[in-house]
């Protein structure tokens, strides 16, 4: 097996996602390759926030991005449990259309107590993100 493509944490990320009821409510899943993870939120009617323009709800997009950021911190760390969020700032850049949404997160700083993470969600093109977040997580396991 190629060690660069197989991360033992990948199965744990999947197991965590399946154990979180709210992640199941959203209906998201993740694909992990090494230390890179792409999260996928398949479109469902219940994710709509505005029925007139058929836009995804900003809260659903933010929830998806927060979970993606949390899982990315877990993936690249050796924490026994996923980290707890301290804060999250969301930029709504474009309307989320009634179709699948994808996300990736980058851990900008992994400290001893905190991690600072950026995550972006896109649809047609990764260069045109729908929303982006910056989130801080507590990584100290006291």
């Amino acid at each position: 097996m190629n060690p660069d493509l197989t991360n033992p944490r990948a199965d744990e990320v999947d197991a965590i996602l399946r154990r979180i009821p709210f992640a199941q409510t959203l209906g998201m899943r993740c694909e992990v390759l090494g230390d890179e993870m792409t999260a996928i939120l398949p479109f469902q009617e219940k994710l709509i926030g505005n029925v007139t323009i058929r836009a995804l709800h900003g809260g659903a997009i933010a929830s998806f991005l927060e979970l993606t950021a949390m899982l990315q911190v877990f993936l690249i760390s050796d924490m026994p449990r996923p980290p707890k969020p301290m804060n999250i700032t969301i930029d709504y850049l474009r309307q989320g259309h009634a179709k699948d949404l994808y996300a990736r997160a980058y851990v900008m700083k992994m400290g001893r107590r905190m991690a600072s993470v950026r995550a972006e969600a896109w649809q047609e093109s990764r260069a045109d993100p729908v929303s982006a977040i910056v989130a801080h997580f507590m990584v100290a396991q006291d």
């Binding site: 154990r19 709800h57 929830s63 927060e66 709504y92």
Partner: protein, 163 residues
Amino acid sequence: MNDDKNDPDRIAAVMREHVGLMNSAVPWGNEVGFEVTRVEQGHVWGRQPWAENLVGDPDTGVIHGGVITTFLDNLSGMACTAAMTKLRFVATIDLRIDYMRPAEKGLEIIGEAECYRVTKSVCFTRAWAYHETRDRLIATSAGTFAINKPRFGSQSPQGKTQA
């Protein structure tokens, strides 16, 4: 219906009349199950009940932060509409949420949002999520919202067509 165009509470009054519609018209809002309970000028309150399918930490039963984000985003947007004297809807530009402490398993969350400044094109908001009273804070938020231009042919609350 309140017909005085200069009454600053006019839109909030329209929202109070249609609070049932506001609660049922948002699919993702229905999924997470929050409801608006009170509307005043520039100020909106709501409740978010605890539910198993909203749990973010299966070990403690704490509701996921995304539920609180959804709740405060929605209430803040409504507070913007309730702050205006013409019927205008808004879109979130950005929203910051600070998590003060985890919500307790099984307890309902109260949400309160305030639009404290309206400019020509932008509204500024702050909001709180708590158990029972504001001294049991779960999260706070600060947001900015863009005021959408009225759509051509849309109806004003008086029934006249706006350009």
